[in-house]
């Protein structure tokens, strides 16, 4: 599904990722853990195509397609989805209109027919229901006045509607209390599927109690320092990140 090879990336000439390798197969959930400044957010932005991040070396393939040569919207159509650490407020644009425009843009890019207003409404209602969200939320402006938990759930709703192949969850737990975290994790778990891979980026082990990963990787100093099963997260929690400095690895 996703193959990252020797990825180097920099911001304003400062190298952040220094030779990152990662393979994720269809249906797998991988967690990337790492200390602040390790390059976690850089990885999520490089995968989703944000301006300001320069890839100097390496390759990212999604089902054989070269992701790095695509614009953000082309990546979305190819199946990349980033759940933001801080979902953005868009005043004046309703969730309904946003989801409709997004889904039809992606369907069009994939050569599928656009959905009409009735089909769209039916689909959005069904997806909201699947995630236990009220229809009222569809009528509100995107993330405006939403609590931290509501914003994250709104991103998960977008994920449910757009049905991506690769979901990158960037620090989904930040700014959430434990109840909100459970609800958001439940939403993510609902969307686990055999043909969908997930990359969960997090600072704390806590999130992984609710979204159970198949593999855990430690990202530090711009590279994956160690990989293992879920037990690696517990080891990290016990020892801290200091043990994973490159010279110690």
């Amino acid at each position: 599904m996703l193959s990252i090879k020797n990825l180097h990336a920099e911001i304003d000439g400062k190298p952040i990722l220094k030779g990152l390798d990662l393979e994720i197969k269809a249906g797998e959930v991988h967690a990337i853990m790492g200390p602040n400044g390790a390059g976690k957010s850089t990885l999520s932005y490089v995968l989703s195509g944000r301006d300001g991040y320069t890839v100097t070396e390496g390759q990212v393939l999604l089902n054989g397609q070269d992701v790095l040569s695509m614009k953000p919207e082309e990546r979305a159509a190819a199946g990349v989805f980033l759940a933001f650490q801080y979902p953005v407020e868009i005043p004046g644009v309703t969730n309904m209109n946003f989801l409709k425009t997004a889904l039809n843009s992606i369907r069009k890019a994939r050569g599928e027919s656009e959905l009409d207003a009735m089909q769209m409404l039916k689909l959005l209602r069904a997806k909201a229901k699947l995630l236990g969200m009220s229809e009222e939320m569809l009528k509100r402006a995107v993330n405006v006045g939403f609590s931290g938990g509501e914003k994250k759930r709104n991103d998960i709703l977008q994920m449910a509607v757009l049905e991506p192949k690769l979901c990158v969850l960037d620090e989904t737990d930040s700014g959430l209390d434990i109840d909100a975290l459970k609800v958001v994790a439940e939403g993510v778990n609902t969307l686990r599927a055999a043909d969908r891979s997930m990359l969960v980026i997090t600072h704390y082990q806590r999130l992984l109690d609710y979204i159970k990963p198949d593999y855990v990787h430690v990202l530090a100093y711009g590279r994956i320092q160690r990989s293992g099963g879920p037990e690696l997260a517990l080891e990290l929690e016990a020892k801290g990140y200091a043990a994973f400095a490159p010279e110690a690895a």
Binding site: I90, V93, F98, T101
Partner: protein, 358 residues
């Protein structure tokens, strides 16, 4: 008001025309466009008062649904709309069509609009044309006590036009003047509104969206004078500029010594979509009373990069994301229009402009 008189006024009132040097701007030679302009069509059921090149034009007017005596032509270029008597409510919106082509010299139009006590009227102005000569329209509006006028103005295609208008409004006790303007597609626009709140509890709300592209120059100069106590005024103006366009918003609020308990708000926001575009915003407050609540704000910026990336990461193209954000920016103003006041037309004109320019 003839063009010569207007030019003379711009010479005398230098400060008010500082950012819009009329003579200089008019001196730029232009040629008429080769594209035909869509004729204006009134909404079914709406009475239409039509002008062609500044003269009343009976052929495309539809007066049969207007109350008898409400509309009079006075001379070649002056007309009067009178909603007489007390409690006279004209429930169907009346459309004013101003069309210009190059078949005749454009003449200045003078309109007098008078609303009697507790009467109400909705007026929708449509402007379109391909003429290169300046379009000059002057309106004098008088609202008696408790009268209500909802007045919107929409500019259609008229890329070479010079559009110079001034609306002077006097608002008596308890009366309400509501104005919306969509200003676009003219190489030079000057939209002046001058409102005097003369009676207790008089109100006005002025709102507008200005869209400027190419080398267009657009200027909205608004003045609200609170002359009596407990008046309320609201100004909301938004400008979107691309390419080498220049925009001007001058919003002035004057509160006279007697106008205690005045409540006045003004906000101007502009988005510059290119490095060459320029916006001049000049809010002015002159307050001579001590018990008032007045606020004003002005921002000039670009679209939010975070929002753009968020939308693109969900599959919208860069242009589609920009259009969605711009539409939301303009909608905050356009929402002030009720259905039947040209809301749908305004929405369509916005979309058309965004598709051509973004």
């Amino acid at each position: 008001m003839t063009l010569a008189a207007l030019i003379e006024r711009s010479r005398v009132q230098k400060e008010s025309w500082r950012y819009t040097p009329l003579e200089k701007l008019l001196a730029t030679p232009i040629s008429a466009p080769d594209t035909a302009v869509q004729p204006l069509v009134g909404e079914a059921g709406h009475p239409v008062i039509a002008f062609r090149n500044g003269r009343y034009y009976a052929a495309t007017s539809r007066l049969e649904k207007l109350p008898v005596g409400m509309f009079q032509v006075e001379g070649d270029n002056a007309c009067r709309i009178t909603v007489g008597g007390r409690h006279c409510l004209v429930t169907t919106p009346v459309e004013l069509h101003f069309a210009y082509d190059n078949t005749a010299q454009a003449e200045p139009v003078q309109l007098y609009i008078e609303l009697g006590e507790s009467s109400s009227l909705t007026l929708i102005e449509h402007h379109a044309g391909s003429a290169t000569a300046p379009h000059v329209v002057e309106m004098n509006v008088t609202l008696s006590a408790q009268a209500k006028l909802r007045h919107s103005k929409l500019m259609h295609q008229q890329a070479v036009a010079v559009h110079l208008t001034r609306t002077q409004v006097s608002v008596a006790s308890g009366a309400h003047y509501h104005h919306f303007a969509l200003l676009k597609d003219a190489r030079l626009t000057r939209h002046e509104v001058d409102v005097r709140l003369q009676g207790l509890n008089a109100q006005c709300s002025l709102s507008g969206v200005m869209l400027l592209a190419g080398h267009e120059h657009g200027d909205a100069t608004w003045r609200v004078t609170h002359e009596a106590p407990q008046g309320t005024s609201n100004q909301l103006f938004k400008t979107i500029l691309t390419e080498s366009a220049r925009g001007v918003f001058q919003g002035k609020v004057i509160v006279a010594p007697d106008a205690q308990k005045t409540d006045s708000q003004q906000l101007s926001r502009a988005l510059l979509l290119s490095d060459q575009a320029e916006m001049n915003a000049k809010p002015e407050l002159q307050i001579d009373a001590d018990d008032v609540s007045c606020s004003h704000g002005s921002t000039v910026g670009d679209l939010d990069d975070n929002a753009l990336f968020y939308l693109r990461s969900r599959g919208l193209s860069d242009a589609a994301a920009r259009r969605l954000l711009l539409r939301a920016f303009a909608d905050e103003v356009v929402e002030n229009l009720h259905a039947g006041e040209g809301h749908e037309v305004a929405a369509a004109l916005l979309e058309e402009w965004f598709h051509e320019n973004v």
